[in-house]
Amino acid sequence: MEKKEILKELEHQFAEKITATSSDFGDDTLIIDRKSLLEVVQFLKQKPYEYSMLLDLTCVDHMGREPRFEMVYHFFSLTAKHRLRIKVPLSENDLSIESLASIWKNANWLEREVYDMFGVSFTGHPDMRRLFMYDGFEGFPLRKDYPLRKRQPRIRLRK
């Protein structure tokens, strides 16, 4: 099928940059290194693939595993009618990755959400602040070591 071909072509194109590919449950996935993220997504955005839409961007905390974090990007191509998932492993010691905010505008908020919930910092992001939580919130709530019922200290009213 066409889907498999896309993965094969990409493997051919970026032979040394792609760590692994898979199609579990029919979702085509690429695992790449964070250094080559910008290059790969910019290539994918151009013709003939035209993954012009950043559908979703999130992070998964695999606590106890090295590398601990994993960024998950979902792209969508309107012309090929195909969704592609790109995963980038991130180590806890150096928790930063290139921002996509200059290429996709919704990445601005999506990356702020990931920063808010997981503490991943995005280099080149124009406005790196928390999105849902308030300034002064301690810790990163969606990390696995953040307890479900943890309470936060009171903060002073904003002036």
């Binding site: 449950f25 999506l110 928390r130 849902f132 904003r158």
Partner: protein, 441 residues
């Protein structure tokens, strides 16, 4: 703590705060505006007032128990949220609902879509001063919710669509109520077209206001009616047909300019298409193999009798609230002992049924999907509603992330209102249908 706009604002411009509790900022959102007279120079949108930690909560619930939480995301169309989650799980588990359940799902999700669009446009029109339109639309929504209530037993937090099928069969009386709702909604849509389409006040606030180009909309990750209003053809129901949408005939209305008026018009036309889908689905839905109301013994008598010997007769249960009758299971739920709650008749009257019940609900038992991750999306009221679930093989999701469609649309609000009047902010915000529960999760 100063906000970004306070730092960036020019010295002689006027800063004003809209929300989070402002009558037009429905869904608790704060917009800080930097004004020059009445023109918006710059703005900053602050969200998160309705953040309830949906994703974190789900990580601590079993796959079955977290279903009611999905109702509370887009609370105007909860059935589509249920459907999105359930179909993601079905993709992971490799089960499929029977045909009748698929048609019920389509009918229910289209009803929810109509109620979603009605609410959005009602609020948008009301904020422009058209209170009549608001009342008409809310009236139509009541008829839609009557249909939903009759079958699911709830108006908003339904939890009706279950893994493997639906909770209960359609109410025996549903056709009558549904036909009434369709007639009433058509009437309201006609009235609203007459009231708004050529209304000068409405047009001034919507025509050529907050125009979004197709490339910008795609770049922002817009989906759903907002994307289609810019003229881009993308609808999950057509591009990745799920359930029985590929067997139904409907059109995808597109806009031309991508302004507020197009977003209004696309939603209005989409409701007409949804009504068409419902009418077709009503004709095509397979008849129940079981008798509509099975004759049988009362539950109390059955439990009493079961102490002496196995009850062979049918047991009467309310089809809506107490769980469907066993006879109907084959129509509305997949054949799978592992993933389906066993029928109540068996649970209460036989030892195997009771064991099945405990195996489903006991700690460390229940639904255990294989290891892996899966993404699945349905067309929600606002666009592609996607679920990304990571499973580690236990009975709880390791990670559950929701792609909320209005999140991406809201991200563009700052750019949309730039250079417009303060009065344009409100219909622009209304036209994108932000739902706090879905956006902040």
């Amino acid at each position: 703590m100063t906000t970004r706009i306070q730092k960036e604002a020019k010295k002689d411009s006027f800063l004003i705060n809209m929300g989070p509790s402002h009558p037009a900022m429905h869904g608790t959102i704060r917009i800080m505006l930097e004004l020059d007279g009445e023109r918006v120079l710059n703005s900053e949108v602050e969200v998160g007032y309705l953040h309830r930690g949906f994703e974190k909560t789900c990580e601590h619930k079993t796959y079955f128990n977290l279903l009611p939480y999905t109702d509370r995301m887009n609370y105007v169309s909860p059935l589509i949220n249920n459907l999105g989650y359930v179909m993601t799980m079905e993709k992971m588990l490799g089960i499929e609902a029977p045909e009748k359940a698929q048609y019920i799902r389509v009918i229910m999700s289209e009803l929810s879509r109509i109620s979603d669009h009605l609410t959005c446009l009602a609020a948008m029109a009301m904020e422009c001063g058209a209170f009549t339109v608001f009342l008409y639309k809310i009236k139509a929504r009541e008829f839609i919710w009557d249909v939903i209530e009759e079958t699911t037993g709830a108006r908003m937090t339904t939890s009706y669509i279950r893994i493997g099928g639906v909770r209960a069969d359609l109410h025996p009386n549903y056709e009558e109520v549904l036909n009434k709702a369709i007639v009433e909604t058509r009437k309201v849509l006609k009235d609203v077209h007459g009231l708004l389409d050529k209304n000068k006040i409405f047009l001034n606030r919507t025509r050529d206001v907050a125009v979004v180009a197709p490339e910008v909309a795609v770049n922002y990750g817009w989906t759903g009616p907002c994307l289609r209003s810019t003229g881009v053809y993308f609808d999950v129901r057509k591009t990745f047909p799920y359930s029985v949408y590929d067997q139904l005939d409907f059109e995808i209305p597109l806009g031309e300019r991508g302004d507020n008026f197009d977003r209004y018009m696309v939603r209005m036309k989409e409701m007409e298409q949804s009504l068409r889908i419902i009418e077709q689905a009503m004709k095509k839905i397979p008849k129940s193999t079981a008798k509509t109301m099975a004759k049988g013994v009362q539950p109390a008598e059955a439990i009493k009798a079961s102490r002496e010997k196995r009850v062979e007769k049918n047991i009467i249960l309310s089809p809506n609230l107490e769980g469907s009758e066993k006879d109907k299971y084959q129509d509305i739920l997949a054949k799978s002992k592992k993933y389906i709650v066993p029928p109540k008749e068996e649970t209460y009257t036989s030892i195997e049924g009771l064991i099945n019940h405990f195996q489903f609900f006991m700690r460390d038992h229940g639904i255990r999907p294989p290891k892996g991750e899966v993404y699945f999306a349905v067309e929600g009221g606002n666009g592609e509603l996607g679920y990304y679930i990571v499973s580690d093989g236990t009975e709880k999701p390791y990670r559950l992330h929701v792609r909320a469609p209005c999140f991406h649309v809201m991200a563009a609000l700052e750019e949309m209102i730039q250079g417009h009047y303060v009065a344009d902010v409100i219909p622009t915000f209304g036209s994108i249908n932000m739902i706090g529960g879905e956006m902040d999760r």
